[in-house]
């Protein structure tokens, strides 16, 4: 017998690591138009605080969007991953491209779930050595970010023999390896919610 323990998954580790992501993030905000009327120092201070709070909330929301995407890809919850994209969002993961949310969903369903893609991204983890180079820029309802990651690239088994069929049933692949790279993202805020406008993976 053994003590009942909580299994700590790599995803949990990733998410915990994600909390530290902000340390390396540079956030810049476009100068908002200064109000014409004269404001008291207290009002100025309040306005600054509100703006800083909004910036912080936006940064957190975008980081969470990135983490959600990574987690959903690892969980193979592709339907929800596609919902993270804007209606006209773009996706390019190691050459598997789609334009528009419904096309992204189709790509995930047909090429990822059915394992017909030449290469599948099956997990991400933070690239610790390049984390300090992560960038997040927010400007008036839009944002750009670079997240340095290691992507787990899986090459599906394409064969039709019995062994391959059984292996696929178990999530087995022909090849699985980690590659250092970065996710280049563009984000838009729609109805108070951040969505991915574009996401492209680039190998280092």
């Amino acid at each position: 017998m053994s003590e009942k323990t909580m299994n700590s998954s790599r995803r949990a580790f990733f998410l915990r690591g994600g909390a530290a992501l902000g340390t390396g993030v540079v956030a810049t905000v476009g100068a908002s138009a200064a109000p014409a009327e004269k404001r008291t120092p207290l009002e100025e201070q309040l306005s600054d605080l509100r703006r800083e709070l909004q910036e912080a909330q936006d940064r957190t929301a975008i980081r969470q969007l990135h983490l959600d995407f990574a987690a959903l890809i690892e969980q193979q919850d592709y339907e929800r991953a596609a919902q993270l994209f804007a209606e006209r969002g773009d996706l390019d993961l190691s050459g598997e491209r789609a334009q528009g949310r419904s096309a992204i969903q189709q790509l995930f369903e047909r090429k990822y779930r059915d394992q017909t893609a030449s290469v599948i991204h099956s997990a991400y983890r933070q690239n610790a050595s390049h984390q300090s180079n992560d960038v997040l820029q927010i400007t008036a309802g839009q944002a750009r970010a670079t997240f340095h990651v290691d992507a787990q690239l899986s090459t599906p088994l394409q064969e039709d023999c019995t062994a391959a069929k059984m292996a696929r049933l178990q999530g087995q692949v022909a090849d699985r390896r980690w590659q250092a790279g970065r996710l280049e993202g563009q984000y838009v805020k729609r109805g108070g919610e951040w969505k991915i406008a574009s996401l492209k993976y680039l190998a280092a």
Partner: protein, 593 residues
Amino acid sequence: MSARNYRPLQMHRIAYSDLTEAQVSQALRAAASGPTSKSPLSSALAGKRLKIVTDDGGPTLEYNFRSARELELSEKGGKAAKCGYGALQDRNLVLVSHMIPGTQRGYTLVVDQQSGLATVFEVYFSGYAAQEKAAAAAAKRAPQFKNGQRNREVQRKIWFGYVEGSGAVPTARHTYTNRLEGKGIYWEQDNDIEILEFYLTILYSNFIELTRFGGEMTIAAPSDYIMVNDHQFIYSRIECEFTGTCTLQIIDLFDLTQKGVRLGLTEKDELEYYLYSGKGELTGQIATFEVFGNNSLTREGPRRVYRPIETFDVMTDEQVEDQVLNHAVTFGDGMHTGAASMGGYKGELITRFVGKQLTVRMDNGPAIEYDFADAKHLKWRYAGDSQWREARYEMYEPDDELYFFAHLLDAEFPRSCALVAVDMKNGLATLVKGTTGTPFRNNETHPTYYFGVFHTEGGPTPPTYIRHGWTDEMVGKAVTWNYQPGNPGLTSMHFYAAPHTYSWIIFQPDGSGGLQWSSPGWYSKVRDGVYIMSWVEEACNGTLGVILFNERLMHDAGFGFHVGPSGLSLSAIGARARHAGTFDIKKYLGVKT
């Protein structure tokens, strides 16, 4: 010898009844009084009350064991039901099994009287179809069945928990484990059944019931492995794709004993519900391939079951005839290298016989003349024929001066291929003729073996009496096969389980053994440590695989012959092997003396 009366068919050839729920209920009526047992039942719990609490939303079971045969059960505080039961004891563990009268469900418990821990198997019938549809919808895949309901198949939910007592609630639990993985045990049960069990994966097991047809075939079944402590384990299997019967037992490795229960409906749709005890002999322990520290304590999601019989594409005569005559492809027909799939490590093509002629002459079989035009094309004819036929071929050298080549025979229905081993050192040849069709399915294949000699200019003088021949030297061995480069590439493990059968295992991503299946197999010896092994994936996808395995090289050369909805194919196999271990089982197998 067991007195059980089996149908005269191998298990994978029986068309099991798709029983209605009403038929299952009718068959289960006798289960209300509890399981039978040849060995005396345990009265360890008679007169006791137990409240079993389980984790994760599982049942709370309040038992009043009125005697050694009757109990009252209240589930989650509900009205008590009277049930017949039976119990057996292994040291501190008590195995209890009962059904709930008027229902198709019941419980098998393993209660640890020492630690207060309990594992509950909630077992039930008529649950498969709905569960599989739901699981398939959740995973966005097709259900693994096409027809019927499979009401006869026992389903189980496993709950870990404890017996509520006066002290603190224990924090420990029995757990899933890989600690039995790789082990094999011979069991002799109190009901005269003798069985070889092999726990080769953490999801499956295979067994050979020696008291059924002399142990010709091994059968694979999805299984559960639970660790009580370092020497006591709970093992269960459900014979999915067959009768659907559940076998559940405590295995005690200290004295190699078992206490178990078997619950299900036989191939004759009769209730089989009994407790058994058994004494075992360890047959071996092979390697496992998880990283150290991976003890498989957790299992996520629904159990995976491989259902090849249900998902097999059965074709008509006309469909098969069309495929073998009009859609036959040999070694990719030059369109690709054929190195994909199971041929990722195939050797160089051999050109030794290019421009030469060769005649193989089989004892009690065909004599075939060959004229090798180039490295990929030959002409062949049966000796005595005037007409040469052209065919594409590939030839490999799996051992020094030992050649193995293959080609399709005449374009007729059924269609055959010739797989020929030519042993230049010994003047011997073996021909395995693969042919489409079996009495059971048109798109299966079957092999016919011929042993004989060959003649070629400059070749050895053929012997008169010596031949390649059948062997049991491979029996008991387990060998991994890596068919492609990559991490992990296409990889499996063969277990050569008996002289007429084998089983294969597909690894999970963490290296543990996963899904498993089995088929008939044939073994012949060519030289010391060099064998021809063949198999047919009967009731699976019908493929004939024939490999010439060199144990010194831990490499093979071989061929696959397959017919299906996308055509007939003859392709190359070439893989790298690792020895995983050997079970000492020959003494249990073969012809009785």
